[in-house]
């Protein structure tokens, strides 16, 4: 079953001579539980695609369906709830709230929702992230890798349908990168979450089930990797 469906997505910046087509009629689907890498050169439209799927940006035309629901048919308030409950965003520069500690940053989407965070779930996640000892530290007191773990924890905590990661290892060393990818794979496995990961790193892309290649706002290649086969056998 397709969890995510993208139909004829276009995004244009500027007008007239300055017009730039960041996305040019992009269409694809992502089934539930798939870990999908989006690669491409700088300016190919990867981040724009991710931001539109996460409803933090709006398309010029085209549609995004998540679980058959047209994302952009909703009003602003509902879009906020959509981002809160159905999407988890991971950024290259973590984008943590500096005034909140690690635990609070992770539980923030739940707090926003007016819900009480499930303590057992939190403990499990902190364990998975290796942040138990650092739960009360502020972002400024954490290393880059730890900050990215917090960011991943925040994206995972509400168990959203789809996790969107914008170069999650782009700011990390190879050891930390490997750990983060392991973590993402683990959560993909454990929670059967759909993931879209933007990356420049071919090694990272190869760890995913599928690689979509973008160039000048268009999909120029879309192929499954060996991991997809392994997963199919697992199932």
């Amino acid at each position: 079953m397709d969890l995510l469906r993208i139909e004829n997505l276009c995004k244009t910046y500027g007008k007239g001579d300055n017009e730039v087509k960041a996305l040019d009629n992009v269409s694809f689907t992502v089934p539930k539980g798939q870990m999908c890498a989006v690669i491409g050169a700088s300016g190919s439209g990867k981040s724009t695609l991710l931001h539109i799927i996460g409803a933090v940006d709006t398309p010029t035309s085209g549609k995004v369906f998540l679980e058959d629901q047209d994302v952009f048919s909703q009003n602003n308030a509902n879009l906020a709830i959509f981002r809160r409950r159905q999407v988890g965003m991971i950024y290259q520069f973590y984008n943590l709230i500096p005034v909140l500690n690690a635990e609070e940053n992770i539980t923030l989407p739940m707090i926003m929702d007016g819900r009480k965070p499930d303590k057992a779930h939190l403990e499990k996640l902190l364990e998975l992230l290796g942040l138990k000892e650092r739960r009360l530290h502020l972002p400024s007191q954490l290393s880059g890798g730890q900050q990215q773990r917090v960011s991943i924890g925040r994206a995972l905590f509400t168990s959203p349908g789809v996790i969107l990661a914008d170069e999650p290892t782009g700011n990390l060393d190879s050891k930390n990168s490997a750990e983060i990818m392991e973590l993402l794979r683990k959560s993909n496995h454990e929670f059967n979450q759909t993931m879209l990961i933007i990356t420049h790193d071919e090694n990272i892309a190869l760890q995913c089930d599928r690689i979509i290649t973008l160039s000048d706002g268009k999909i120029v290649n879309d192929q499954l990797t060996g991991f997809a086969e392994v997963k199919r056998h697992d199932i």
Binding site: R84, N95, P98, L100
Partner: protein, 755 residues
């Protein structure tokens, strides 16, 4: 509200500097508002307690008390028997009375028609009104009109202040929120709704108000008590408000309802400011807020004046300031507002000060002692006696002689000239009373043996640099000699001095007065005189005494050394000099003096009050401006920490860094000073119109006096320059400290610092 309150509380503690600035801004706003409200209610309290009557009738009788009690429109009347047996009646009117002064007119008419009815002593009976109290009680048509004017004025001031303070609160919220724009974008991207973002900022405003408003209320009330204590110590209350016997009844009045209004108004401002800032933040989509670099330069100018003046550091500074246009504009606005407010208050107060000083100088001196004497030596003796008494600051001598010249009276306008020989003190007094100092000095007149010409019109043209005419020299002769030599009745130049007639012989002498400078004095008294020629007294003693004759009349301009010993000084004049107060003595031939103590003292007290007001307002506005500036500049540097570190890595020297920062500060101050000058010009335009409208039908509308009061368009320049210099120094110190601290930290750590 859990999420909003959690975030807002965290932001308040995390951003201590911003929170302190916002609390200070709120506290300052509430302080000013509370102070204004309390000052207003205190003033009303002083008016009603310090002079507890609408109209007070002095030297009254019981018959008058009965008459007043039954007078239509009188609500209450209280009569009190005084030690001299007379009555003092305090009258309060009903709101329905049309004109309360009709009662006075009716009393006077009745007294005239039936003197036995009210049994008043017409010479002693008097009344005093407390018009301001009547206005506040809305008594009579004029009272009602005045009340409307007072209230309108009060609300105009409140509105103006409210607007100014709202901008300051807005600025602090705007700057604080601007720094967190990216974080708000992140919050939205992970699911915070726009309502929640607005909620965070609004809740933050509410929490900061919970500290700022009570602080402001306490400071405001405290400030009112301090101001009242200060005013009470300057005798302003006795001068303007109270009857001495009621002075102890006056005090600060704090009305809980007004305090509540003040607190609520300020809370509403804060919430509006916070809400408005929140609404502006959520206008941006999350991705815009996260990725948009607010410091992206959209347009790069190839050359800039600052680049030409200061090289590449100037160019960098210009781009740094222009890449954050909103921040730049906010800073300029805040600075401009503060400088303009300071300038406007300074101008208004200095104009008021000028007007009051003009009034002060018009009187010339505290005492004018007039004496008919026999010769100059007599005047000199009196002068020395006054100076050596130690009770007076100075003593000016002014002796006059009439001067007849065809040039002065050329159109048969019956104008005559006057020669005034004065000493240094009197010369300075004269110049002060004319409102001019830019003329020839006493010493220059003395060394050149010349005269200063004061004339009403320009049609008296001296021949070259001198003017010739005649003086009548009078010298005293014995009666027999006078009768023997001058049989003609009209030559009897007798005058009364010490109840004895004196006889003078008259001699007409030609004199040429060399003119050193001339001043046009458009006062009616000079129009009548035609021209006055002022010269040092030494010129008279050494050169012209033989031509103009001996001194017959002299006036002394005396200033008290200290107003506290006024009574002692007056007593000394009466006992040691034998002078009589002109108000109580009409004895012919006596030496009389006019005591302007009360007028001058009142004016002096006002000048002191104005000076302190200026100082107070200046300090307050200065403090607000500095807090704003410090916050904006220090956060600006903190945000560019990584970038500055990169430049240092590239080889920028600390000196170049400070230079760039100096130019940035200079640009802020320069732009603000320029905008302030434009705004101040507008303020002056309004002030000039106001002054002209006040004096439009007075005979001084085009006089030197009015030109002295008039604010010139260049007047704010010194104030703006001073305020700008202070702002520049503050900005430099503010930027120097974080830049110096940054150099102590590791460059690599700074480059990595994102937040």
């Amino acid at each position: 509200m859990t999420f909003e309150s959690l975030l807002s509380r965290r932001y308040i503690f995390a951003q201590k500097r911003h929170s302190l600035l916002t609390i200070s801004s709120i506290a300052v706003a509430v302080t000013l508002m509370t102070f204004l409200f309390c000052a207003f209610t205190t003033y009303i309290n002083c008016i009603s307690k310090g002079a507890p009557y609408h109209i007070r009738l002095d030297s009254a009788t019981t018959e008058l008390a009965d008459y007043v009690k039954d007078y239509p429109g009188v609500k209450d009347s209280y009569s009190e028997k005084l030690s001299d047996g007379s009555y003092e009646i305090r009258v309060f009117f009903d709101k329905n009375i049309v004109n309360p002064f009709d009662m006075i007119r009716d009393i006077e008419t009745l007294q005239e028609k039936e003197p036995d009815r009210l049994k008043l002593d017409p010479d002693k009976f008097s009344f005093k009104d407390n018009f301001v109290y009547m206005a506040f009680d809305m008594i009579g048509d004029s009272g009602k009109t005045a009340m409307v004017q007072y209230v309108a004025l009060f609300y105009i001031v409140i509105l103006f202040l409210a607007f100014a303070l709202r901008l300051i609160i807005d600025t602090s919220f705007e700057v604080s929120a601007k720094e967190r724009e990216k974080q708000f974008g992140v919050l939205q991207s992970i699911g915070a709704s726009p309502k929640q973002i607005v909620g965070i900022i609004t809740f933050e405003g509410l929490l900061l108000s919970a500290v700022g408003i009570p602080l402001g209320l306490i400071f405001g009330i405290g400030l009112t008590f301090l101001a009242f204590r200060f005013i009470a110590s300057t005798e302003l209350l006795e001068t303007y408000v109270s009857d001495p016997k009621y002075i102890a009844d006056m005090g600060v009045s704090v009305k809980p309802l007004l305090i509540l209004i003040c607190a609520v108004t300020c809370l509403v401002w804060v919430l509006f400011s916070a809400y408005g800032t929140g609404m502006r933040i959520i206008k941006k989509s999350p991705i815009q807020a996260i990725t948009e670099r607010s410091n992206t330069i959209k347009k790069v100018r190839k050359g800039s004046l600052w680049g030409l003046l200061f090289g590449w550091t100037g160019k960098m500074a210009t781009r740094n300031n222009h890449r954050q246009p909103k921040r730049y504009i906010i800073t300029i606005l805040a600075l401009t507002l503060s400088i303009t407010l300071f300038t406007a208050f300074s101008l208004i107060l200095s104009t008021a000060d000028n007007i009051v000083r003009q009034e002060f100088d018009m009187i010339g001196s505290d005492i004018i002692l007039e004496s008919y004497i026999t010769n100059y030596e007599e005047a000199d003796t009196i002068n020395k006696k006054i100076v050596s008494s130690g009770l007076f600051k100075d003593c000016g001598i002014n002796t006059t002689f009439s001067f007849d010249s065809d040039i002065i009276n050329k159109n048969d306008l019956n104008r005559y000239g006057i020669i005034e020989y004065v000493n240094r003190e009197s010369y300075n007094n004269t110049l002060r009373s004319l409102g001019t100092v830019n003329t020839i000095s006493y010493d220059e007149l003395l060394s050149g043996g010349k005269y200063l010409m004061l004339d009403y019109t320009d049609d008296i043209i001296p021949e070259g640099n001198s003017i010739s005419g005649k003086v009548i020299k009078l010298y005293e002769v014995k009666e027999e000699e006078y009768i023997r030599e001058h049989d003609k009745k009209e030559n009897k130049g007798a005058y009364i001095a010490g109840r004895s007639e004196k006889y003078f012989k008259r001699e007409i002498n030609e004199i040429v007065l060399p003119i050193a400078d001339r001043i046009s004095v458009q006062r009616s008294i000079y129009e009548m005189r035609g021209a006055v020629f002022v010269a040092p007294i030494e010129l008279y003693i050494n050169d012209t005494r033989d031509i103009v004759g001996d001194t017959k009349y002299v006036s002394f301009d005396i200033n008290y050394k200290d107003y506290k010993i006024h009574d002692q000084a007056v007593h000394w004049l009466e006992t040691e000099i034998g002078a009589r107060n002109a108000n109580y003595s009409d004895e012919p031939g006596s030496m009389i003096f006019n005591d302007f103590y009360s007028e001058r003292h009142k004016i002096n007290t006002t000048i002191v009050a104005l000076k302190y007001s200026l100082l107070f307002v200046g300090l307050l506005i200065g403090a607000i401006a500095l807090v704003n500036l410090v916050n904006i500049i220090s956060t600006g540097i903190a945000n560019r920490k990584s970038e500055i570190a990169s430049m240092l890595c590239l080889g920028m020297t600390p000196k170049q860094l400070y230079r760039m920062s100096f130019i940035e500060c200079l640009q802020y101050v320069f732009s603000s000073a320029f905008t302030s000058f434009l705004l101040s010009t507008g303020v002056i335009f309004i002030l000039r119109k106001m002054i002209q409208s006040v004096y439009f039908d007075a005979d001084i509308s085009n006089s030197t006096k009015l030109s002295g009061m008039m604010v010139k368009f260049t007047d704010p320049l010194p104030t703006i320059l001073i305020a700008s210099a202070v702002a520049l120094i503050a900005a430099l110190i503010t930027s120097y400290i974080p830049l110096r601290n940054m150099q102590k930290e590791s460059l690599v750590d700074q480059i990595r610092s994102v937040e």
